[in-house]
Assembly symmetry: C2
Homo-oligomer: 480 residues x 2
């Protein structure tokens, strides 16, 4: 399957108009088929627009955010929902949670706190090249516990340090790539994918996945549930994957004493943590603690994040302009707010339920275990065809979950398996998620190698999360 | 009264902390007084937060948008409303109308359409300095019919041309200021204030004012109502004000043939309108027509604006990044969404109603005409103390309207009088609305002159809108 282009072509390119035509054609086709019995015409129109939006965010004749905005506009213009109703996602607390967490990410980058954490890790662990990977990945994982902006975290904070470490050992794209840089790029990226999977805040669409899961199965995946269920397979993967890549794709330089010196001098240069860094650290710790303890105080996730942002603004760690100028945050806000509302409304139409009934009749007689394994594998490797976790999850998570549930799988097990798979499958390609083009784009690794190592890593993580995961979740009493 | 600073001081300045203290103190004071009978504790808490937010957006210890976000956060954290409810303004179609209109503004600037319109006007009318003002103001007024971003319109499009016309006649701040520049700056600014008043989309807070009006009085001011009621006094003011300023503050250069040449050569340089300009013009005309004909097709204002934005995106007149990078738009989105919801919820608490009852007992026996005139004058000149139309209207529009209505004034007349006054009062100072510091800041005019001319203009516009306005509205059957 050829990868869909992650970038947008110029509007004059004929291919763009063909893609638009295909998208509109699909919507028209669905409308022409007509609503099945029991589904209102409104509901069916919504379904057509939703499918067109998903196809659009895969084909990308325009950036994904714009495509979703077109979907919202289509819903309002056609009177499928009232204007207020079609915009309702933009006041959804979950959408604001993600928006605020993006603003907090900006503070972590701006104050230099992220960089400092990375250098502290490197000073402690960086004497060997594998230790460097653990140091970088440790930083990424710590940040992933509250920062869903994967590109700010792994792209903005970790990537520049990774590259400068490679440069420090005179490893550049080309003949010296394998000296150190190639290993670092592959290993850090593969572990970033694992960090994405480990937290509800690992990347932006996990919150969307949790929402989908709740709508279909009623299973509520809280911040804590996601983290506790993910921590054992997550940490094992983070330890094992760099080792395996070290075997398969060893760097020529294995001892890196220079890196710790580098970290030491960078820390010296940074001096004592600034007031801004302390404030940032405080927000980081308090927000994470409040998210973990929701059960006791009941303060909504979004309100906690909003409090964090307000604190950073009042103390001038963030300027108001930092918030307004955060294009990545506003991008997520638009697509996420649109999709959340569409998915929610689609649930209310009864189409998902109808689909479940049909699925149930198909999977009659299957052992649920076989169904779960088969469907998770198909779901996972379908990611070769997706340039975004969000597009993939939006298109496939709900129907796959419905089928697995219809086959009789325990709801929580099914939700967790598909949720983690939604992230881990980004290992496969150099366009699997937003950070892939960044690490691949450093040009240390050929596409062939990247895909080969991605495929092997996927087998490793599938083994770990597929065997250790269910055992751990059973131990936690989540199923069985 | 000393003007509140429009800029934000550094957070370390003691004055900032004093302002915060004052704001929190006011909220605490209101809470300490306790809810009057018939008002729930929740309602009273909302009132305290609302008043603190208004005081905050006047004192500005942080930018106005941030202050509103703090208010929203306070409402959610204190459990005054549910998180979803406190964020509800962000899915309000009116808020999206303003957001989308800002994006359309960006297209007008980006394609050069605004500039072209200005040069066409100058080529036609610019042979005399007073004609230049009419040309610039004509452009501004045409744009105001759909673009509520006053700073994009009068600041971004008109101001650079105004300044370059002054430069063309070698008029610079200092000894040559009075040659041409000083007159242009004062006259264009004063007429921009009138253009703001003439349309529901004249500047961002008119939509908010319309919402306030509807909540208190039930009077719905549609796009068409606002425009039709404003067009006669508006056009008369636009014709008279430049003339009066020409008498009081004449430029030395009164014949400006060079300006028309300048416009001609600028138009030559621009060549034929680009595809983008044609698309932009199309959107401009279609959006305005759809807004004027809402009564017949019933398509919501916001949906029309959203359609316009989507069309500009699909045709690549606007790039997605233009939308994401529009900080002014996101700023308005945050403060406007927050205020809309607070004001709406406050209406539901019954506090406004209670205030109306008290006001009614005070104004018993007043002739409603006297009450209306007195209160509009107080409202108008109170703007000396405000650096923003929004802050002023948010603080004073609702209570003043309530009192005027309690005195027995016809609702529609009272609403229109206060709505137009909310805009026209920006004439008074060099910080009266966002464009004032731009035109004043060009340093052609001393503060003393600016205030003197502003005061005189205010008397002229008050006379025109105060006499001609009610007559015209009576003719239209809006009252009496």
């Amino acid at each position: 399957m050829s990868p869909p282009s992650a970038t947008t072509d110029a509007p004059d390119t004929p291919s763009v108009w063909w893609r638009w035509l295909l998208i509109v054609g699909i919507a028209a086709g669905i409308l022409a088929v007509g609503a099945p019995e029991g589904i209102t015409p409104q509901g069916w129109r919504l379904f057509a627009i939703f499918i067109a939006t998903i196809v659009g965010s895969i084909l990308r004749p325009a950036p994904a955010g714009a495509v979703v905005l077109f979907g919202v506009c289509a819903i309002a213009v056609t009177g499928t929902m009232t204007p207020a109703d079609s915009l309702k996602g933009y006041s959804d607390p979950l959408v604001w949670l993600v928006l605020c967490a993006f603003f907090i990410s900006r503070g972590v980058m701006k104050t230099g706190l992220g960089e400092r954490i990375a250098y502290l890790f490197i000073r402690a662990l960086g004497r060997r090249s594998i230790g460097l990977v653990y140091a970088l990945v440790g930083t990424d994982t710590v940040l992933a516990s509250i920062l869903p902006s994967n590109s700010a975290r792994a792209g903005g904070v970790i990537f520049p340090i990774t590259r400068s470490l490679a440069h420090a050992y005179d490893s550049h794209p080309g003949v010296t790539a394998r000296r150190l840089g190639a290993y670092l790029m592959v290993a850090v990226y593969q572990c970033d994918v694992i960090a994405c999977a480990m937290f509800l805040t690992g990347q932006a669409s996990n919150v969307l996945i949790a929402r989908f899961a709740q709508e279909v199965s009623g299973v509520e995946v809280s911040y804590t549930t996601w983290m506790v269920a993910g921590i054992v397979p997550g940490i094992v993967s983070l330890l094992v994957v760099p080792l395996i890549l070290f075997r398969l794709y060893p760097p020529e330089v294995t001892h890196t004493p220079h890196a710790t010196e580098l970290a030491r001098s960078a820390l010296d240069r940074m001096g004592k943590p600034s007031r801004g860094e302390w404030m940032m650290l405080l927000v980081f710790v308090v927000v994470a603690l409040l998210w973990m303890t929701t059960r006791w105080h009941g303060i909504n996730y979004a309100v906690v994040a909003l409090l964090g942002v307000c604190f950073l603004l009042v103390t001038s760690v963030l300027e108001w302009d930092d918030v307004l100028a955060d294009r990545a945050a506003w991008d997520v806000f638009i697509w996420y707010g649109g999709l959340v509302r569409m998915a929610e409304a689609l649930g209310e139409t009864g189409i998902t339920k109808r689909f479940a009934e049909v699925a149930a009749s198909v999977t009659v007689g299957w052992a649920w275990g076989a169904a779960l394994i088969a469907l998770v594998l198909v779901y996972f490797y379908a990611h070769y065809a997706f340039a975004s976790i969000t597009a993939h999850a939006t298109a496939m998570f709900t129907p796959f979950l419905v089928v697995v549930l219809a086959a009789g799988a325990p709801p929580k097990l099914a939700v967790l398996a598909l949720a983690y798979a939604s992230n881990l499958d980004a290992a496969l390609t150099h366009y699997g998620t937003t950070t892939a083009p960044i690490y691949f784009g450093a040009r240390y690794v050929s596409q062939r190698e990247w895909w080969r190592l991605g495929l092997i890593t996927s087998l490793v993580t599938l083994a770990i999360w597929g065997i250790l995961g269910p055992l751990w979740w059973r131990l936690l009493g989540m199923w069985g």
